[in-house]
Structures are given as C-alpha cells and as structure tokens.
Subunit: 287 residues, 2 copies
C-alpha cells in the first residue's frame, strides 16, 4: 500500500474512444479520503492540441463515477464544445471505510462535506477532495485549464455543485444543477447527513446549505437549474422553491426551469445535459 | 401463472419522460420463449398524434433490454426523427430456462435463432420472438406502423439484425449494425452457439449466417455497418471482411465504415448511433 501513496499513483483502469475524444476511468490514492478513489475523465478531441476547460460533475445518492459517465450522453456535447469532464465517486469506499446500512448515508452518500464527527471524519472528506485534491491531481496529469473550471451535479451532487461554487467563486466560473437538494437543512436527507457527519449543532451545517450560502453571498454568474415536475423527491427532499426564494433575496442571477413531466432519472439528465454543457461552455470557453 | 398467458398480459414496469417522449420497460408472457420476457420501448413525441415507424435494436452477449436503453443515447435522435425504438432482451430467462456456465452461451446469449436441439429448443426461440411475436405484440398495443419497421443491433445483435433483415426484406425496410458477428459460421462464438442450439450438421446454420444469406439474396436497400478498428473481437469473432466479400459477390449496396480508434463498447455505439438512426429514418419516414 505504501507505494500507492505517491502522487504519481494514478492508475488507468479502462479507456475507450468516444466522439473523437477519450473516456477513461482512473484510480488513485486519496490523502483526503484515506482510501483509493475512482473518477472518470472525458478528454475532448481539442485536448490533443491544447489545454481545455474542465467541468466537474457530482453524482447523486448510490452513484459511482460510472452512472453519469455511461448514462448521461454528455460526451457528444463535450466533444463539440471542447470541454473536459471529470466525474468523481460520491464517497470514500472500501472495507476500512465506515458505512451504514441505509442507502442514503455512508458509502455512496458522502454529501460533499468534510465530516467532523466520529467515525466518519477520517475518510468522509469529499468537500476537500472535490474542491482541492482532485482538481490538483487532474490538472497535474492532464491538459486541463485550472483557470477554466465549472461544476455541475445531480440531486445530492446538485447540492454539492452549488455549495462548491458558492463557496469558491474564484475557482468555479460556472455552475448548474439537475434536481439539487437545494435546501438540505430543510430536507430529511440533508438533516440526517449533516447531523451524523457534522454533529447536532446546526451552525456548521450552514456552510453546506446552498440556500443559506446564496442568500449571504450570490454567485457572480447565472446559475442554471433544471427540475422535473414529476420528480418523486421534489417536495420532501429537494425543495428548490426555498433556493429560488433565497436567490430572490440576494438578487442572484438564476435560470430555474421546472420541466413538465420529467422525473429524477438519468433520462431526465440526458434530455437536458446539452443545455447544461452549453451553459458552462459559454462561460468557460470565453477568451 | 395461467392468467399471465393471456395476450392482454403486458405489464408496465417503469416509465420516464425522455426528450419529450416516453421510455418504458414492459414485461409479458412469451408463447415463443415460454417464459416472461422484458423489452424497452421508446415512443417519440410524434407518437402522441399518429402511428410512427419503429426500429428494433438487438443487443449483444450478456446484455438485457437495459444496456442499449440507458447507454446508447438513442432517444434524442429518435425524438428528433420521429422513430420508436424497441429493445428486446437477448435470450429467454428464468429458473426454468436451461442455462450454461459460460457468458457466451445460454441466458444472455440467445443468438437470435430458433433452437432445435435439447434442452434448448423449448425456450430458445429468439428468432421467432424477435421477428414475429414481439412485433405483433407492440403493434397491437402501441401506435407503431407495421409497414415501417427497421432493425439494428450490436455484436451478437448485429448478427441478429442482419439475419432478420436478410430473411425478411418484406418486413424490415432498413437495416444496420454495430460490430456484428458477420460470419458466425467462421467464428468460435457462432460455431459454439450453432452447434449447441442447431446441432452438429452445419446445413441449417446457413439460415443464420449473414454472409451466407447476403451472398444468396441481397437486401433491397443499403446496409450500414460501423466497426471499431480497436475492437478486440474484430479478427477472431466478428470478421466483417467475410461479410464485405459476400456483399461484393452479390452486389449488395453497403456502407461499411471502419472507425479508427474505437472499441466494442457502448461509447462506440453512442458515438455513431445518430448516424444509424438517420440511416433508418431516411427509409422509414419516407412517404
């Protein structure tokens, strides 16, 4: 295991050509999460000649790096627009990593926070992993522009994308989300995660609640959100109305689209992923 | 079980909106295969107003109805072109259905033949299922044009698509394939399947070998085939060169595209599925 701690420890697992670019899965030791982590990377054809802007996609509960990569149909748009896409896993994993019997907490459900409570605080540091360790790693090894990063996500990953962007507007120049958990402090999923990862005191929860964050400090660019009207989690868990209200209070530029008939699935994501990639490219590929 | 034999036995399992249309998975009793069978159906938005042409997609070894449906990204093109897509499973399934320990024979590997050998002949009748029972079923229940059918497939399913079209040119007006097992009598996969499903005598094998069929009776329309140059099964199992030679002998109209750098995966399919759907729509949506 010792050799796997070196920063050169980036192992290619699989690689395929896709729309003239390359889709690959990598594994590496994460100092943040103290375990092996996997991610996928799509490099568009343009990356053969020059560094390209990069979009991070954060996935939802139960997902790995694979779901978005195989089901969203994003590569065609990334190829046309010249964007790289990095899709990390949703939590630390492994036998030595604490887990929970539920599907909405523990492995597959890292909620993009840095946990402070035992037994989670040693491995569950997805916020630092996503905003720092992973960008540093991929920018070191691949032709990606560190000054052109965007972030997007779905459900729990939509929450993660909004939080990462709102807390790091100098790092992420564009942000969008599909059906995000938009006010996690008001959501049973979010409350459980925050209580167990961060402790009973809700004060530190606010740093991971997009509605709290946007109200205090809006993002310097338009936020795009798509939400399916037939999403079964809409009312109890996602609560985009609270985020819209918070944006209104802080005059946040927002394009919130309630999409009639759509549910929470990747069929919904695939239908609108082209719009999201164009939203990011408009900002990230500007000179 | 008796009630499930009724022709009205078409059970919706899941349904999602996708690119303005509907993607759904159904289960039904199959008289052909003597078991429950599953398929997916994409209905484009146009089907809300009028019957639409329908494309059948046959999948490869180990696949179910899900792989193509979730990974190929076909729905966006089907929606734009007004095509329905039906994706059946690749074999009969269930505890009562004979199986084999190998991944390339038995359940998940029906090879689109009507087996004649025990113990396979009772359930493994995928040729009749795909060409007769399934089209009849879906045309009865959904707004699909029986006079506008096309067929496509991947690998084992590419073999199936070519065989179905070449043997039923009055039924299928268009055909295409991704990395088909193009000369199964010369392929270890095909030889094993034909020997065990059809018996040691190779005479009946010819009715399921696209290269044999096209040489005797070409298809009345151009056949589109995409093949990845880095496909690890190319030389041993797929052998498109034999199919191309057979087409040359019978003056079959053919567009065979060797795509440099692509492998056998769904990333390859996704890259070119738009071209294939346009190929079919050009024929199927003609007045």
């Amino acid at each position: 295991m010792s050799s796997s701690h070196s920063t050169a420890n980036l192992q290619l697992e699989t690689q395929s050509q896709s729309f003239g670019g390359t889709i690959a899965f990598y594994r590496h030791w994460s100092d943040c999460c103290q375990c092996q982590m996997k991610f996928s990377l799509y490099l568009p054809p343009q990356a053969q000649h020059q560094p390209v802007p990069v979009l991070y996609f954060l996935s939802g509960l139960t997902c790995t790096a694979e779901n978005f990569t195989t089901k969203a149909g994003a590569q065609q748009f990334a190829a046309a627009l010249g964007l790289a896409i990095v899709a990390p896993d949703t939590s630390p994993r492994g036998e030595q990593v604490p887990d929970d019997a539920g599907w909405d907490f523990g492995q597959g459900a890292g909620f993009y926070v840095d946990a402070t409570e035992p037994p989670w605080q040693q491995h569950y540091r997805m916020y630092s992993y996503v905003t720092q360790e992973l960008p540093h790693l991929v920018q070191t090894h691949f032709p990606l522009r560190g000054d052109r990063q965007g972030i997007c996500g779905h459900s729990m990953g939509g929450h993660g994308a909004l939080v990462c962007a709102l807390r790091n507007p100098q790092q992420y120049r564009s942000v969008s989300a599909f059906a995000p958990i938009a006010a996690p402090m008001q959501s049973p999923w979010g409350q459980q995660a925050f209580r167990r990862y961060l402790g009973e005191d809700p004060t530190p929860w606010q740093a991971y609640d997009a509605s709290e964050l946007v109200q205090r400090s809006p993002f310097p660019g338009e936020i795009l959100i798509d939400q399916g009207s037939e999403d079964s989690f809409l009312t109890d868990h996602l609560k985009p109305d609270l985020f819209v209200a918070a944006c209104q209070r802080s005059r946040q530029a927002l394009n919130f689209r309630m999409q009639p008939g759509y549910d929470h699935s990747y069929y919904f994501i695939a239908t609108f992923i082209g719009d999201h990639l164009r939203h990011h490219a408009q900002v990230l590929t500007q000179s």
